[in-house]
Symmetry: C2
């Protein structure tokens, strides 16, 4: 029979650094993972994987993500602050290994697009590059940078200006079927997963049992 383990603050803080990073990164559940594409004013492109996307609002459409203070992804942050535009590109089974590879510490003058053989894709005069191989892509305008003083992380909020998605994945009520689009999720620092739908559930109301829709 399987048993439950309980650990507390002092034990967590005493863990070896990499072990703790892997463990604590697992605790929030499956994550929204994406590639963020940017370009600086000298036309140097950058592509980086982030696993901290979060919905902020639908009207206006706002999306946020976390930037670690010590991260290689600071090139992404620099470019966003310099140019105001970036793209968010979903991962799929075909590109998740290349996407993971963008986390390597390349020098600033190396584009992760080239280094990982992902293809820059410029659409509708948007400044920042999309990922051609990604099936759901967002063009986003920077809105707000919030410093989380508690540990030096930074939260970036942007407004979604362009959405590209496969026609056959949009349902009649606005639900976009990410599973059909092949979007991948991740857990911890390095584990990637496809999904299998259990159900969509009806809008919850008191004293009415939710049904599958």
């Amino acid at each position: 029979m399987n048993s439950t383990t309980h650990i507390t603050t002092n034990e967590i803080l005493a863990l070896e650094k990499q072990y703790r990073a892997s463990f604590i990164n697992s605790l929030g559940g499956f994550k929204s993972v994406c590639l963020i594409g940017t370009k600086n004013n000298a036309n140097q492109t950058n592509l980086a994987i982030f696993n901290s996307l979060v919905h902020i609002g639908a009207n206006p459409p706002l999306i946020g993500f976390v930037v670690r203070p010590d991260s290689v992804d600071r090139h992404t942050l620099q470019n966003i602050l310099e140019t105001k535009y970036y793209t968010i590109n979903h991962l799929n089974e075909t590109i998740f290994k290349q996407a993971h590879q963008t986390a390597a510490r390349y020098p600033q003058d190396v584009s992760e697009f080239e280094a990982t053989s992902l293809t820059e894709n410029y659409l509708d005069n948007f400044f920042a590059p999309y990922v051609l191989q990604s099936s759901i892509k967002l063009g986003v305008e920077f809105k707000e940078k919030i410093d989380f003083t508690i540990n030096g992380t930074i939260f970036i909020i942007g407004e979604i200006k362009h959405i590209y998605y496969p026609n056959n994945c949009l349902q009649h009520d606005g639900f976009l079927d990410l599973e059909k689009a092949g979007t991948v999720t991740c857990s911890g620092l390095d584990s990637y997963h496809i999904t299998q739908k259990l159900a969509r559930l009806s809008y919850a109301k008191p004293n009415i049992i939710v049904t599958e829709i």
Copy 2:
């Protein structure tokens, strides 16, 4: 052959409200969904589903989530601000329908635990109730409330003080196997999914091809 649709800001803003909410909520990818358990100082418990968990840091172990300004989940926020403690409980296939049901607008004097037949579980003298049926549970202490003035949402950061997990899900390097634990992910406003692992990938370094670990 499938084609790609492109829509832009003005079209997004012109969408019907519920349609837009469903659509925009789909765009960030698969989400970290959980049940947050709280109790006020009058011993009234509350349980609410959130799909916006995000990792903030490992040392100290910090986790954040978004509270919508117009949400029923404001009871959760009130209790956290009043008492400083809350629990984060993973969803699994057995309880995802009950978890979804907690989103119904129950009056404040109704506990969603009772209304949804989920069981309050008090562990190691922690103030807030865990969900007995959840296999991964976190006891969290409130640390910071950040107001996102751009649209009135609120971001709550807490420090993880207690972790409960199934023994056989922890790997030698600190990775917690959420798939083995049966943790569920969600997409959009109402779709729930189990996962199927593609691979864990090695730490990314320039000019070294990532391998499965």
